[in-house]
Subunit: 432 residues, 2 copies
């Protein structure tokens, strides 16, 4: 019952009769011929139904097919360089599987709220299909990259008893008789335990922020990959992040050019993503902003505008390292050359897409870490297990986190995170 072949396999069937199954993406018609564009999830195929080649009943089926109706089509595969994908089908038979009357998403323009309300249907559109294919590719590239470098996958818990970076943006729940629990914001602390057990690990799963931000760069539920490596210092960490981003972009360029074209992505911009990437210290970044006449104060975090100004000076991702420790997380190691700085790095995507990676070398000294936990007024009890990692065979270690959906927006060249995940979750939306 499953399809014998898919559109992507047509090159092996030129001149032969095949039967395909799918949905009507679009249709053009004149009196004597119907051009049915079939989509089957692997591609698009123009099926030509000539009145003279089929029975009147079959021609009638072709005539009655509406957008998104499901159907089966039989015909001879022809090479046709001008067609999308390079092939056409000379139809000999068309069978309706199931109709589709008044499909709500027509080729005309729709408002974004209408489209998200109908996300389950919107996903069938050419643009959304291409974004999902690129999402798939990026996820695969991420996993292959780490799998090929002897990292062990390490799935951290989603339900956590404590927050790694403050409690104000946590989703809270009751956990049986154990009191409150929270949805994870990051698997990093757990990944550190993993790195000491397994050397090099990566987490890759959903993370959550109950942020009340209604911007195009925020989802409440998003996927994050977080490698963590024993014995890596900040330089090793930056080298890995650089190699990693290059690998992802090259993998998309190699495998998804057609999808990028559907999205009208300027591919030449992606072709420039080659190592080495520029590395700026925070101090240098501040100098650069001042030189641009932009008002900034040493000690403050870089804002979206600051990041855009910096990233616009380069055509590659920019690695900004050694921020003031004050504005960074408690677990970051201080720079031994300047205790006011954290051994951390943010990677800013080009073209103003902002931060896609945040990483650091971790504090590996028990007493210093305990002091920081106290300074930040975090519950020491909850961090006992985390402190243990510094008590029993502590080692220098580093890692970073890459936000999947932000990376997809950048690579796809699109505006809003909501199109990068099948069913986006935002402050004002948890349906469908």
């Amino acid at each position: 019952m499953k399809p014998e072949i898919y559109i992507k396999d047509l090159s092996e069937h030129v001149g032969k009769e095949v039967t395909l199954k799918g949905w009507l993406y679009n249709k053009r018609a004149s009196g004597k011929v119907k051009f049915l564009i079939l989509r089957d999830g692997t591609g698009y195929l123009q099926c030509i139904v000539f009145k003279g080649n089929v029975t009147p009943e079959v021609f009638d089926v072709a005539e009655q097919l509406h957008q998104e109706a499901s159907y089966e089509v039989t015909g001879i595969v022809k090479e046709e360089p001008r067609a999308v994908g390079g092939y056409e089908l000379d139809a000999t038979d068309v069978k309706l599987i199931s109709s589709s009357d008044d499909y709500p998403i027509t080729p005309k323009e729709h408002g974004i709220e209408f489209l998200i309300d109908n996300r389950h249907l919107w996903l069938r559109s050419k643009r959304q299909v291409s974004i999902m294919k690129i999402r798939h590719r990026i996820v695969k590239a991420i996993r292959d990259f780490f799998d090929n470098r002897d990292f062990t996958l390490f799935d951290p818990p989603i339900i956590t008893p404590n927050a790694s970076e403050g409690t104000s943006t946590l989703f809270e729940m009751e956990y049986f008789d154990l009191g409150k629990a929270y949805l994870t914001q990051s698997g990093q602390l757990y990944a550190e335990a993993g790195a000491i057990a397994l050397g090099k690990v990566y987490t890759f799963g959903p993370t959550f922020r109950a942020e009340k931000s209604k911007t195009r760069r925020h989802l409440t539920e998003f996927w994050m990959v977080e490698p963590e490596m024993a014995f890596y210092d900040l330089d090793d960490d930056m080298d890995l992040a650089e190699e990693f981003l290059e690998y992802i972009v090259k993998s998309v360029l190699k495998n998804n050019k057609a999808d990028l074209e559907i999205l009208e992505r300027d591919i030449s911009k992606l072709e420039k993503i080659e190592r080495p990437f520029p590395r700026l210290s925070y101090d240098e970044a501040i100098e650069m902003l001042k030189a641009e006449g932009h008002e900034v104060e040493w000690g403050k975090d870089l804002g979206a505008t600051d990041e855009t100004i910096i990233s616009n000076k380069f055509d590659k991702p920019v690695m900004v390292h050694r921020y003031p420790a004050e504005i960074k997380a408690f677990y970051m190691k201080r720079d031994p050359e300047n205790e006011k700085l954290a051994l951390c790095v943010d990677v800013l995507a080009p073209e103003g897409y902002g931060e896609i990676i945040g990483g650091s070398q971790r504090e590996d000294d028990y007493d210093k870490l305990l002091g920081r936990i106290k300074e930040h007024e975090l519950p020491v009890d909850f961090f006992k297990w985390y402190l243990d990692l510094r008590k029993y065979g502590s080692v220098p270690h580093s890692g970073f986190g890459l936000g999947l959906e932000r990376t997809i927006t950048w690579i796809c060249g699109i505006d809003h995170l909501r199109e990068t995940i099948p069913f986006p979750r935002m402050i004002y939306r948890n349906t469908p």
Copy 2:
């Protein structure tokens, strides 16, 4: 600063001097020689420190090393067929990185609660490392299997406004001003939207059940992979499940034999997992149970004991199909040859490991599905989008879900799900 080489690379360095970094797994000693077992996440290596080969200071460092201390060791790589991994190191230098006094998990026996309390350290033990490596391999095999067969990854939402299979076992949360939301129990319904957009998709992420079951087969948080295929009927679905399980087991056998040996797994049992698998209808399963003198009633679901009796009759996974529709989910299509049966399949692992896969062909008729939703007293409004999939170009489609942790317990041959995930979540435990 990162290690030049890891233990797994030693074959390329025989006769050469290398420096490795890691932790002391174990130590044997006589007066003039210390045998330090190094672990670095990629393997185990015996480092031999002869008093005559090193300075007194270095010998002293070797003498003082405690279990799980981190250290750096330099020496000459020797082939030694009798050693674990086939190599040894003649040490010329040993440097302590960080000590480990009174490491709580000693080679003696510990109670399970103590071990789970110290899960962050327990993960360093040989057995746990091997389970995590097999987990990694199974996840990779799952993803490779679908990626190589033109499936598109489709990450469903974790935060959902409704429950696909009843509300009694849901984790509940407040979602901003939108009222209650729930943690997903299954991505299937969303995957169906994905299959109609993309042809063949798979979800793979954490799922949640707030079940008050305190058995060795229950976690509140577990990972599930759910393929969903347009145009597949139940037979296609069973063929895919069979091929899939065979692929996973073969991948572990090919890549993780050493880990299986550490777990003392009877590998011959896994070597028998080859297609075809036995397929029994529910009716046949009931007959088989009765023939065994076991009391069962047609119409009831199979219990754990029933499943064990059936699976013990075979040395391969058993596919039990066409259960009474009454005891199965609302979305399953009925058997056209007998409306009382659902077109579904449960796959029971051998050796009494119970159900690891549940799947079905989905109801693709709008009116029938609407009727079922009403019969089950589910909120029709919430399912409007799901019904739309039957309104606009409906197609026959099928899928299944495989529980990752249950699959790991079976393949590893271990007793309890809690060892198959880095930080298990159970009714009485959400820490560390």
